[in-house]
Symmetry: C2
């Protein structure tokens, strides 16, 4: 007698593409600035779909769909997650700020703090992640309302950018849903 | 005047390899069973270092270090994180169970629940993640004490395995540290 049984895709109550596009999203925007690897971009599309966030903003030299390398790791999420591209992210950030979106960089910096400190009233949030090697540029860091970091306990100074974005996005979703 | 300043590696109080190997770890073991992609394996080594967990167990056809594809994404964590290989994971799981380790599969299954339900008294924990496409095998699922799932809100049925492992490992670390 089986204690646990894996669910088939059809049993998971997942949304169809049509329903997903029209369904309410968590008020979170993910900005990918100067991300070098298209596999990372695709992986973050897949994560954004799973976390049910509003939109992805691609900026700087981050590649945009359709690209076969993005599709390979996005597995269809490049068609379900809303996205837009801005060569220069500063105007988009200022406009979001003006509309009451809290701009949160993901970086280890003086004054950065774990996202567990946020509350549902801090949303809507735009989470900016930067380049795999150099992280977020100082100039963008200065446009942030807060800088979020993931407490770490090892010898390295960073996580893979798609892993880090996944950890923070799913934690933000949990925090937001406390108020639901 | 800069509000936020990025920290340099030397300012982050990260552990040296020597200190890391001798330092106390979070009582979490990550088992990677039948993982096809060596990039995913390497990425999970890097995550395991950052989360400060005890050990990685590689099993089935999961590749083991040293392999250049693993090194490429582990970025040195293959040398700092303790690991062992078991072709057949069942003996290792039974022995951990015997020693009071709670065996938690990561899968969407009947009876699975979010890891937010766990408490510090549920540790030590072994988290098992399975193949990128097929997930955890039924036979291993039946050896689990619990099955953990990540609540998802999109059209897909899964996240990239390294992203999913990162989300759960860092949540487990937060839960464990509540008792510290």
């Amino acid at each position: 007698m089986s204690q646990f049984r894996k669910l088939h895709g059809t049993e998971m109550d997942r949304l169809t593409v049509e329903h997903y596009c029209g369904s309410p999203k968590h008020p979170i925007i993910l900005m990918l600035h100067n991300i070098r690897s298209m596999w990372n971009v695709g992986s973050m599309f897949r994560t954004a779909d799973g976390a049910g966030i509003e939109k992805i903003i691609l900026s700087g030299y981050t590649a945009t769909p359709p690209r076969k390398e993005i599709d390979k790791t996005a597995l269809g999420a490049q068609d379900t997650v809303a996205w837009e591209y801005h060569a220069d992210p500063r105007e988009a950030l200022k406009s979001m700020k003006h509309n009451g979106v809290r701009i949160c960089g993901l970086e280890i910096a003086e004054g950065s703090h774990p996202c567990a400190d946020l509350t549902p009233s801090d949303f809507p949030i735009c989470l900016i992640v930067g380049n795999e090697v150099d992280g977020l540029e100082e100039e963008l860091l200065q446009l942030c309302d807060e800088v979020l970091e993931i407490p770490q306990y090892g010898t390295k100074h960073s996580l893979n950018v798609a892993v880090a974005a996944g950890i923070v996005l799913f934690e933000l979703v949990q925090i937001y849903r406390r108020a639901m």
